[in-house]
Subunit: 187 residues, 2 copies
DNA sequence: CCTCAATTTCTCTTATATCGGAAACAACAG
DNA sequence: CTGTTGTTTCCGATATAAGAGAAATTGAGG
């Protein structure tokens, strides 16, 4: 235990892992999952399940499940280490890529199904004569909003990373630049 | 019970409320809270706690707490109904406004504290001689990313709603327009 | 085809969050 | 001041999720 180079020897690193776990927790992500992710993110070399379990003091089985989930989110990947039979894992370390993958994952798993469900609701609502027209209207508004957001998000995914970064750093300036270019505030 | 105009008489409306509750649940929002929000969103007139409890079949106390939380998120507001002693509530019905408030709320409650914690971690990390330089680097990257995202988000909040909508609807076009206008990919 | 390490699945315990109901509290009318 | 109505706080029961450890499975040498 406590190998050389085990980053959990560092207070700062431990803090980081702790906070990350906590934060994940609030966002509906299992704490172990988030902690493992943090650990791998900080680690300069791939780790195997055993090392992870030991570093974080959580059960081996728990690690196994959590790793599977993280792979599913494409936040970490398996890496074969030559001469070692054990499976090793490393994290995606580009923070932008990471942010995008998390957003993408949530969208796919949680928003998309909801959008679909909403579509069904609206369809159903249109057949109901008794329904308050306001309610119908609201459902449609929501649907349209989600559709717009969805399109926007997918659009943004196609933007090459460096441009995306530039775009975000521009911030408000984007609007003024476009005003010059686009002019009209056409709906 | 089952008053005229109670939208929970509608299947579609009930479906909507159900799904909304479910979705909220996955996002770490209490189901009751989400359901109440959905109900108020669909309702064409303000409702009081009693009506909500009855419509959704949940305890009065639960409604009370959930309402408080929703008010905290500024997703609903109290409205005095003349001639009625009871407190009534109505939802923000502009979907864009709603989306923004949810995002804002999450940011304030969950990201901002994390950012602050991260700052402390990095500070601490810099004092630790033993820490793997890669780990330090990664923490700093993360911090910078969060800072950028934070600035961007605050920027977007200052953009008047109609322009924001326009901006999102433009999607990818924004990039090409900017290339023509801005040219250089200056940092 | 056997052995052994590594991993995954399963089950049970424990922790956490949700929610209903009782009780306390506040506002107000008479 | 007192009774009534509406609201909030508190507490206990219950549902749900997390996590540990044992058991089962896989797969690579030999």
């Amino acid at each position: 235990m406590t190998e050389i180079n085990d980053i959990t020897n560092s207070n700062a690193a431990n803090q980081f892992i702790l906070y990350w776990g906590d934060m994940g927790n609030q966002w509906g992500v299992n704490r172990s999952v988030a902690q493992i992710h943090a650990l791998l993110y900080l680690s300069s070399k791939p780790l195997n399940a055993e090392q992870i379990a030991e570093s974080l003091g959580i059960a081996r089985s728990n690690v196994s499940n959590s790793l599977k989930e993280l792979v599913g989110w494409r936040l970490i990947r398996r890496v074969p280490v030559p001469g070692d039979r054990r499976e090793h894992y490393e994290a995606e370390v580009d923070v932008w890529e990471m942010g995008i993958r998390i957003a993408q994952g949530r969208k796919e798993r949680e928003i998309d199904p909801a959008t679909q469900a909403l579509r069904a609701c609206v369809a159903q609502a249109q057949t109901e004569s008794g329904l308050d027209p306001t309610a119908l209207r609201r459902m449609q508004d929501m649907q349209e909003f989600l559709a717009t957001a969805d399109t926007w998000f997918r659009d943004m995914l196609t933007v090459p990373r460096p441009k995306l970064v530039m775009l975000m750093k521009l911030g408000t300036k984007v609007v003024s630049l476009l005003n010059l270019a686009g002019g009209k505030k056409s709906k």
